[in-house]
């Protein structure tokens, strides 16, 4: 089967682990017997690929569709259009009952370590659950896998932590449990949806470091969904900027954040302060307005109403396609050069 072209480099000449081809996830809104529903275009024609052993960050404001993208990639949602390939296999419309293998191969790290684990379960039961669902191992083997998973996330001694309940752990330790849970089935691909946004700055770094170490050790691919450009810069190899359900810019981190091509990326970067006491003396450049509604996104380029360089007659009419302006660096903007 011939694979569609998706933007992104292919370093080792192998299949990308995940490939999205004009993927669409629209939700119906309203609608009744007599009224047609309006689609919420949460993810609209997104094409990208994630390669083995790499981390792709998807960065965007809330409501840009990044979380929906993550859930769709894991087939927790069935796409309403386009194609989704996992390891070269089309799983766009596969039955849930045929996806048990995917649940083993692809893991998920949620945002909130406080609400994502059953608070009445001790940690070993939290970690045992995926094994039980997948019917893996007997008691001894499971115990061994659980203690190994805890050691992998540096919750040592593992016997000590396995007996604890979630409320007895700190936020960082709890997020380590979430990582261990995602890792327990030895997946090759993990979607991490804002895994550190609820943690303290220093704990954030320790969790991201841990993910990096696990990636190197087990060659896991990550889709890192975040609104934080700075951590994306330090913990990913490629980065995709999403705006209103579409990819605005995609490429290697150094290129995208070193010389951003899309005016939205540029504005997003300018809005993020680095620690510098001089910041007090000037206003922070920030775009006015808010991201558009996903039921009726603006015509043409969805960013044009907030864009400082938009050209009327072009940007509000024609929807820009992703163009490769620099090696592996794609941008969806008519005016970028």
């Amino acid at each position: 089967m011939a694979l569609p072209e998706a933007p992104g480099s292919n370093p080792e000449g192998e299949y990308p682990i995940v490939q999205l081809d004009s993927l669409r996830m629209w939700f119906p809104l309203g609608g009744s017997l007599f009224r047609k529903s309006v689609p919420v275009k949460a993810v609209d024609d997104v094409s990208l690929a994630i390669y083995r052993g790499e981390t792709l960050s998807v960065v965007g404001e809330s409501g840009s569709g990044k979380t929906t993208l993550g859930r769709t990639v894991l087939r927790l949602l069935e796409p309403t259009g386009g194609r989704l390939l996992y390891d070269g296999m089309d799983i766009t419309h596969a039955w849930e009952s045929d996806l048990k293998w995917l649940r083993r191969k692809a893991g998920f790290i949620p945002q909130d370590p406080y609400s994502s684990v059953n608070s009445t379960f001790p940690i070993y039961r939290v970690l045992e659950e995926p094994l039980a669902v997948q019917r893996i191992g007997l008691r001894d083997e499971r115990t061994e896998r659980i203690s190994k998973a805890l050691e992998n996330v540096k919750l040592i001694p593992s016997e000590f932590f396995a007996q604890k309940f979630p409320h007895q752990l700190s936020g960082g330790q709890r997020q380590r449990v979430a990582v261990a849970r995602a890792m327990i089935l030895e997946p090759e691909f993990i979607v991490a949806d804002e895994p550190v946004s609820m943690l303290d700055a220093s704990v954030r770094i320790s969790i991201l470091r841990l993910l990096r170490q696990l990636q190197e050790k087990f060659r896991i691919s990550f889709l890192y969904i975040t609104h934080d450009l700075a951590t994306a810069r330090h913990f990913s190899s490629r980065i995709g900027i999403m705006y209103a359900g579409r990819v605005a810019e995609l490429g290697p981190v150094g290129s995208v954040l070193g010389q951003p091509l899309h005016p939205y990326t540029q504005a997003l970067m300018e809005a993020v302060p680095d620690p510098d006491p001089e910041n007090r003396l000037r206003d922070r450049p920030a775009l006015p307005g808010e991201p558009p509604s996903l039921t009726s996104p603006p015509s043409g380029c969805r960013f044009h109403p907030r864009c400082p360089i938009a050209k009327m007659g072009l940007c509000d009419v024609v929807e820009p396609e992703l163009r490769e302006l620099r090696p592996d660096h794609f941008v969806a903007c008519h005016l970028a050069a």
Binding site: E61, S62, K154, L155, I156, P157, F160, F161, S170, G171, G172, Q173, D200, A201, S202, V203, R204, I205, S206, R209, H227, D228, L229, A230, T231, R233, H234, L257, A267, L268, M269, E270, A271, V272, P273, D274, P275, D276, P277, E278, N279, R280, D283, R284, P285, A286, L287, P288, E290
Partner: protein, 413 residues
């Protein structure tokens, strides 16, 4: 003159596990038209400091003492009724963390902003509503927002409404507790710009509580770093950022991932202590790479690490095999019993060896002063530690023994 001058503020509350020393001997002052950023990890007492300033105390308060001068007047002495009338919202107001999600969903925004005017000044509802609209304009919202319900507004607009609520009584000082933590970067930048502009126009003072040093630098004239209920470093923002004196501040600055630099962020191993039982001496010493003799290593800490009872710290693991049990009744004296069949002299010499070989890289070993063999056990004498006070010039003071004369030299010895 300082709008707010706080000295020796203490605020503990009782729990079943003992008193939580949320705010422990905290002093600072804020001048009119300036901002003090209060920075630290969660659970270090930042928000408790704010609630203590506003006297929003829970029923289980244990200790509440110190001096709070607002425009030179000691408001700490006020009766509760007087405090409510004169200080709360009129002198000091607050934007609470997540307040935008605590707006009443069934009341129009204008009414929510106007409410304090009706209570404090007994203004008529029309007057108060008109002032609410005024206030909305000041925070950059159109007047019609006054007639809207919170669910009709975006996050950024709701946050502006909450700021308008804090400003409506024309206070001297506004406490901002993580005012932008739930917002997108773009909205965050807009709110920060609004806060800057309001300060410029009205000479407001801010106490800005955040854990984000990048964000703190947007507003701060001065920065106070808080750790485990105490201010460990305080000074002009330019000094704190460029030449921090306390290892905690240094680590905190290094932990910020920077967008415009290749420098990889570092993390601080471990977690802040439980505020019911804080470490002796400097409270940061268990996580500090530079901790040395006077920092306050205690027998229970050293005993727990040596016998491998203190899990979860991501620092280099060092422990002693062959410890049967330890006794740590005296903080500066640790008693170790060897396991069965192990000679006391062997245990003592393996500990001596450990201290000698790893002292330079493992801080807690520096706390060991003397190792003696006594009958069937090993006595370990520990350097008595003390809590450091803030030292240095007014522009930058830090509470760390390294800053004492010769401290650095001894620590790296």
């Amino acid at each position: 003159m300082a709008v707010l001058d706080v000295s020796n503020l203490r605020y503990y509350y009782r729990t079943r596990r003992g008193a939580v020393k949320a705010v422990d001997d905290v002093s600072f002052s804020i001048d009119a038209g300036t901002t003090l950023a209060l920075v630290g990890e969660s659970g270090c007492g930042k928000t408790s400091t704010a609630t203590a300033l506003l006297r929003l105390l829970p029923r289980n308060v244990d200790t509440y003492e110190g001096q709070i001068l607002l425009d030179g007047e000691d408001v700490k002495q006020f009766s509760n009724e007087e405090f409510r009338k004169k200080v709360r919202w009129r002198g000091i107001s607050m934007v609470f963390q997540g307040a935008m999600n605590a707006l009443s969903p069934t009341t129009r925004c204008g009414v929510q902003i106007a409410e304090p005017l009706m209570v404090h000044y007994e203004s008529s509802s029309e007057e108060a509503f008109a002032s609410a609209k005024e206030e909305l304009k000041k925070v950059g919202l159109p007047e019609y927002v006054a007639d809207r319900y919170p669910h009709e507004l975006s996050g950024g607009m709701k946050q502006r409404v909450v700021i308008a609520m804090a400003l409506v009584m024309k206070p001297r000082l506004v406490i901002l507790d993580e005012p932008t933590s739930a917002l997108d970067v773009m909205t965050q930048a807009n709110i920060i710009n609004l806060l800057k502009q309001l300060q410029k126009e009205t000479g407001l003072a801010y106490l800005f509580i955040t854990h984000d040093l990048g964000l703190a630098s947007e507003l701060a004239n001065d920065v106070a770093i808080m750790y485990a209920g105490r201010i460990v470093e305080i000074g002009r923002a330019s000094n704190v950022y460029s030449s921090p004196g306390h290892p905690y501040t240094q680590k905190l600055i290094q932990s910020v991932p920077r967008l415009r630099s290749e420098e990889a962020p570092e993390f601080i191993p471990g977690a802040p202590p439980d505020l019911t039982s804080v470490p002796l001496g400097c409270r940061f010493h268990p996580r500090c790479a530079f901790a040395f003799e006077p920092c306050g290593w205690s027998s229970s800490e050293i005993g727990a690490i040596l016998s491998r009872e203190a899990p979860g710290l991501e620092i280099e693991e060092v422990y002693l095999a062959n410890v049967l049990k330890y006794e740590a009744t005296d903080p500066w004296k640790l008693v170790l019993w060897p396991s069965k069949g192990v000679a006391v002299s062997d245990l003592a010499s393996s500990l001596r060896e450990l201290v000698e070989s790893r002292r330079s890289s493992v801080p807690f070993l520096r706390g060991i002063e003397k190792i003696e063999e006594r009958d069937s056990r090993v006595l370990v004498k520990i350097h008595p530690g003390q809590m450091p006070e803030l030292m240095g010039e007014a522009d930058l003071r830090a509470a760390c023994w390294l800053l004492q004369e010769g401290g650095k030299a001894t620590a790296t010895k």
